[in-house]
Symmetry: C2
Subunit: 330 residues, 2 copies
């Protein structure tokens, strides 16, 4: 096996989040599907941005958040995703590197702006996301360095990567390289609507390409088109080495061939913004897995990381997750 340089390498649509508070009426007025991530083109993005209240900008992207979380937890993380050379691209590059993540993918050619996700946070801490992929559309197999994949214990991909046409080829290449090198491959299902868009391919991925599956209850029920969580859980059991299924404040359930673990959610005094909860759970779970911890401990690490992220705006940690985990898991 190649020398291990990273615990987790993440692949995803790189983007900068643009976050603002809105009320429910705003969502209705602009026809936004609450709680979902919707893909929009540049023109629609401009129009929505013009209507958006004052916002703050912070680096995002589901897998980017997860890898920043891995680094904050003290793990070694690398990232593959595409930004442009524009100011928002520089912001993304700065932030992920400053988080301690290796990120060396060259910028997309001029003309494709860095991807942007407009996030509308309502008073119930739910986020409604409208994404222009921009430079993310340019991610391609050439951006996947085989040496990097072979040197990483886990290659992790966000399901959203199935949206841009070329990116899935990049992921399939990465999965092949990872397995050939004796490494693990993981996917997050990202969003119930994303599962809708790509269900057949996701079912094939889960059965044939993925070792570690991350999904929330809505996503896993959408994958198997069932309306009962326990039934979805039985369906996924045995399909991969481990499936970690998150259920918001009901915690998470981890299934592997022989085991089922039920993990409580970590208490949070005041939930401010649920953006990034799933991404951070993935960070804790995957780093624990890469470090060879037992599944219950992996789930606890995920729960602790998720609790930190929902107690503030933005989807990347504001405090050292490693210290939090040390304090809570002696």
């Amino acid at each position: 096996m190649a020398e291990t340089r990273f615990d987790v390498v993440g692949m995803g649509n790189a983007m900068v989040d643009v976050i603002a508070h809105t009320d429910e009426a705003f969502l209705g007025r602009h026809g936004l599907t609450k709680g979902a991530m919707t893909l929009i083109d540049g023109a629609r993005g401009e129009a929505l941005y013009a209507a958006m209240p004052p916002a703050l900008e912070v680096s995002g992207g589901s897998a980017g958040n997860t890898i920043a979380g891995v680094a904050s937890l003290g793990g070694r993380g690398a990232y593959i995703g595409k930004v442009s050379g524009d100011q928002l691209g520089q912001v993304f590059r700065h932030d992920i590197r400053a988080a301690g993540v290796a990120y060396d993918v060259p910028p997309a050619p001029e003309g494709l702006p860095t991807g942007r996700c407009l996030i509308f946070v309502t008073s119930d801490a739910q986020r409604t996301m409208q994404t222009s992929l921009g430079a993310g559309l340019d991610l391609r197999p050439d951006d996947v360095e085989p040496d990097l994949i072979a040197a990483s214990r886990i290659t992790f991909m966000e399901g959203y990567l199935w949206d841009p046409p070329g990116a899935k080829q990049a992921f399939l290449k990465a999965a092949r390289v990872a397995h050939a090198a004796g490494r693990k491959v993981s996917i997050s299902l990202s969003d119930p609507f994303c599962v809708e868009r790509h269900r057949e391919e996701f079912l094939d991925l889960v059965e044939n390409h993925v070792d570690i599956l991350l999904a929330n209850e809505h996503e896993i029920m959408s994958l198997y088109q069932v309306d009962d969580f326990d039934e979805a859980l039985q369906r996924v059991r045995g399909k991969c080495d481990a499936a970690a299924l998150t259920r918001s404040d009901k915690g998470s359930v981890i299934v592997s061939d022989g085991e089922v673990h039920v993990i409580d959610a970590e208490p949070v005094a005041h939930v401010i913004d649920s953006t990034g909860a799933g991404d951070m759970y993935a960070a804790g779970f995957l780093l624990g897995y890469a470090q060879g911890r037992d599944l219950r401990m992996c789930g606890r690490m995920g729960a602790i990381a998720a609790a930190e992220i929902i107690s503030h705006y933005g989807a990347r940690p504001e405090t050292s997750l490693a210290e939090l985990v040390r304090a809570k898991l002696p």
Copy 2:
């Protein structure tokens, strides 16, 4: 007198804040003067940014914050300041307009990026600021629309405008137009180091051009080069219609010819980031003044607005200040 269209028009260096947490050691390592705003060139800005932890971006600029505060308080605000046509310039333009502020200054010519202020917040909620003015250097008298000034009850300028060489001419033009139209002129002293840089000119401004002075205790003591607040207060008394002097958690003191009012600070459960406290105090005070309220009420409005801003990151209001004021000042 011209028809009144605005309560306050603000002039300042337009910029986007880049905010991150750091420890005291970081400030020492990079030779940063804690609590101050230091001007840096683009190269130094790049180097510091590379060393900066992951950050969030949010529109800033002292007078820009104040005018966003005026709008949040339910006042009619306009802004004069210069950004570029780049992405951060678009962010600035979007945010100030989305706050309800009139902002129509054309972008600076290409080559000058939008100004950026790197803000390092330490655990004591103090902010240390490193500013590249960028497009702000291009602000000039032509950017001051006489009709806009004549239609505004108060023309407000941040002291920082004395840093870029051409901007002070823009301000002096605005002050002339305002007074010719029977309007009031206000300045904030911005920063004790800014006072150091421009003391003689600021003394002349306060004596001869300014009706309403805003300063914190360090700035007013620096202006008169005294080390006692009460002495500074006696020195400024009578120099303008009103001087509102802020003292952090000790509240504020308002002096005019015949009156001295001592106003308590508004209690804050947990101070997160002091960035913008002075800007928001100015917003409340100036709007109260423009609305013809008594000086004590102006100070109370300032204190309420300042308390909101220091209870979260970023220097622009996250909730309606008008509602806060209605709740607290029945």
